[in-house]
Symmetry: C2
Subunit: 359 residues, 2 copies
C-alpha cells in the first residue's frame, strides 16, 4: 500500500520509519527539495499550487495524509478528489485559523482563554475590553512554534503589534496564568475506533517545545478524552489529532489543535506499545489501532539548532537518539532524545544527565 | 557517517531502520538487484568478485559491515584494505567453514557435538567410528537455514549423502539429543566494551527458525557469556557476534557462529532498551554501546512464505509487524512478528493468538 505524505520534514521521516515495517510504502510531496524524509522514500518536488503535480502524485498513492498543517487547503481539497485523504480537510481548516479553532472549542463546550477577532484598528478597543491585559496578538493563519505572535501590555503595544504582524486578520488572546501546558494525542481509526495516549506535560523555551513528559492524572485524562471525543466526532476525524491544553485552576482550556502527529508525541516511539506514527498510519490505512500503554517512564527533549556530539549523548544511559538529518541552523529542530526507563528514579537521573549535557 | 552494508536483505533493511535515527546513512552492495533493504538506502548492484566495484563502494563509505555471512572472504578482505570494516575477516572465515568453527570452539575449551572432517570416501569409516550414529553430514561451506545438510542413519546413507552434497568438503556431526537450542547475541564495541542480550530459546520448523523467546537462567547465561568473551577476544571482534548453542545434560555445546545481527535477536527491536541492530551500528562506528535490558516479555515468530492478512494480524493485541517487503515464495522468510508484553500471562495469550492465526 502506497502512502503519500504532504510535507517531507521530520514528521514525514518518522512516519516513514514506522511505515516500512508495516509493509507500507511512503512517498513525499514537498516544494522544498531534499526534505529530510526523502532519505526514506521518493519525494516529488513541486509547488503546493501546482495542482497537476498534486494530481499525478495522488494517482501514485493508495492513501494520502499530511505532516504539516500549513499545506494550503486548496491543495488538500484537490488531492482528496483523487485519492482517500485523511485527516479530512475540515480539521486542517480549523487548525489553520486560530479564530475558527477557538470557535470550534467553544461550540463543543470546551473552555478557552478569552479571545476576540481583530480585523482592523476599529476592533482594538472592544477586543482589549473583552480580553483584558496582558494579552497576545496572534495572526489567525500560518502560525507555529511561536511565530506570528506578539505580547501586548498596553493599547499602544497593540497598535505596534498589528503593524508588525503585517495588518493581517488576527486574534487577541488573553494571557492565562496557567499552571501547566498539556497535550493529548488522540487517534481515531477508519472504523470510528479511538485510542488515546496519556496526557503529556510540555515545557517550552523561546517559543519552541523543549521537554515533554507523559503524566498520570486520571481526572484530567478523563476530561481531556471526553473533550477529544467531541472534537473527533465533530470533525469526523481519521488519524492522529493533537490537542494542546492549558491547565488553569485545575480545569482544561483548549489552546490549539494539530490534525497530525505531533512533537509532544515523539516519546511514544519507545515509550508506548504502539507509536503515534504507527497508529496514524494504521488509522489512515483502515487497519486496527494498536495499544497505547506506556512501556516505562518516558521523557523527550528536543535538540535545537544542532545535534550534540553523538559519542557524549550515546554514552548516557537510556538515551534514544533521533537525528533528523537536517543541517544545523539556529532555532531549528534538528532532532530529539527520548529516555524510557523502567522506574521513576532512573527517569529523573537520566533526564538530569541529558539536560546537563545540552546545557 | 556513511555506513556501507554488504548484502541488501532484511537484516540490512533493519540495520537501515536503526541507522537513520542515529544520524547514520546506510548504503548497500548486493549482486541481486532490488534487495529489500534498497528501499531504505541506495544499493550498488555488482558481483561479489567485481573488486573495482567493491573499491568504489568502499570509497563512498566511512565504515563497512556485512549482513550476510556468505560474502566471499576475498571481497571482505579487499574492502578492508580501503575502509574500516567490522567485524574483521577472521570471524567470517570461521563462520563460513563448519570445521574451522568447531575447531575454534574446541580450541577455546567450548564443548561441541562430536564431529569429524570428511574430504572423501577414505574418511567415511573413521568418521563414523569417531562420531557414531545417528549423525548429519554437512557441507563445510555455504550452509544456512538447514541447507547443505543430510541426516545419516547408516554407512549407506553416508555414501548417498556425500554424492548428494556434490562431493564437497564436509563434516560429519553426531546428533546430540539436546534439550534446548539457545542463542546468545553478544556485542563488542570499538573500545573493547561488551554487552550481552539474554539467552534466547529457539524453535525450528523445516530447518527454519520459527520461534525465539528470551529466557532467564542465570547459570546458563553466565556460562554462555564466559564462552562468548573467549570468542570475542580471540576474534578481536567488533560488532554483533551470535553464538548458537545446544543444551545437553544442562551443559552448553557450541553449534554455530554468525558474525552479524541474527534472526534470533529480532525481538530486541521492541523487547530491549537498545536493539541488536542499533548496538551493531554503535559498535562498528566506535560509539558507546546501549543497554540490553529487556523492556517486557518478548517472543518473535517468523513469517514464512507469505505475510498473513495485515488486518487480522494487527487486530491481535501486542503485535509488532515487521514486513520485509519481499515477494511471497514458499519457504522464504518474508517478515516476523514480535510480541512484547508487560507480564508473562499476557505473553502466553498473545503468543497463542498469533500462532493460531498463522496455523
Amino acid at each position: 500500500m502506497r502512502v503519500g505524505i504532504l510535507g517531507a520534514g521530520q514528521l514525514g521521516r518518522m512516519l516513514a520509519l514506522a511505515a516500512w515495517p508495516l509493509g507500507l510504502q511512503p512517498r513525499f510531496y514537498d516544494p522544498v527539495p531534499g526534505g529530510c524524509a526523502a532519505a526514506l522514500g521518493p519525494q516529488t518536488v513541486a509547488a503546493w499550487d501546482d495542482l497537476d503535480a498534486v494530481e499525478r502524485f495522488c494517482a501514485a498513492c493508495d492513501v494520502v495524509t499530511y505532516e504539516f498543517e500549513n499545506v494550503p487547503l486548496a491543495t488538500v481539497r484537490h488531492a482528496a478528489a483523487f485519492v482517500p485523504l485523511f485527516p479530512a480537510a475540515q480539521a486542517l481548516e480549523a487548525a489553520q485559523d486560530r479564530l475558527a479553532e477557538k470557535a470550534l472549542f467553544q461550540g463543543l463546550g470546551i473552555g478557552t482563554a478569552p479571545f476576540a477577532a481583530i480585523d482592523g484598528p476599529a476592533d482594538f478597543d472592544s477586543a482589549l475590553e473583552a480580553v483584558g491585559l496582558p494579552a497576545i496578538l496572534k495572526s489567525r493563519r500560518l502560525g507555529y512554534d511561536g511565530k506570528g505572535q506578539v505580547a501586548i501590555r498596553s493599547g499602544v503595544d497593540l497598535e505596534r503589534a498589528w503593524q508588525r504582524l503585517g495588518q493581517v486578520p488576527a486574534i487577541l488572546e488573553g494571557v492565562v496564568p496557567f499552571e501547566r501546558e498539556l497535550s493529548l494525542i488522540a487517534v481515531r481509526g477508519g472504523h470510528g475506533d479511538t485510542v488515546f495516549y496519556p496526557l503529556v506535560e510540555n515545557q517550552h523555551r523561546d517559543g519552541l517545545l523543549h521537554l515533554s513528559r507523559p503524566i498520570v492524572d486520571a481526572a484530567l485524562q478523563r476530561h481531556a478524552q471526553d473533550y477529544a471525543v467531541r472534537l473527533l466526532d465533530r470533525l469526523d476525524h481519521i488519524g492522529v489529532l493533537t490537542i494542546e491544553w492549558f491547565v488553569h485552576g485545575g480545569e482544561l482550556l483548549g489552546n490549539e489543535l494539530a490534525p497530525r502527529v505531533h512533537n509532544s508525541g515523539h516519546w511514544t516511539i519507545e515509550g508506548a506499545a504502539t507509536s503515534q506514527f504507527e497508529n496514524h498510519l494504521r488509522a489512515i490505512c483502515g487497519l486496527p489501532l494498536g495499544a497505547t500503554a506506556t512501556t516505562g517512564h518516558s521523557a523527550m527533549v528536543n535538540l535545537i539548532s544542532a545535534v550534540p556530539r553523538r559519542e557524549a549523548l550515546l554514552a548516557l544511559p537510556w538515551v534514544h537518539l533521533h537525528d533528523y538529518g537536517k543541517e544545523p541552523r539556529s532555532g531549528r529542530k534538528v532532532g530529539h532524545v527520548t529516555l524510557c526507563t523502567p522506574d521513576e528514579a532512573h527517569a529523573e537521573v537520566a533526564l538530569a544527565n541529558v539536560l546537563e549535557l545540552l546545557a
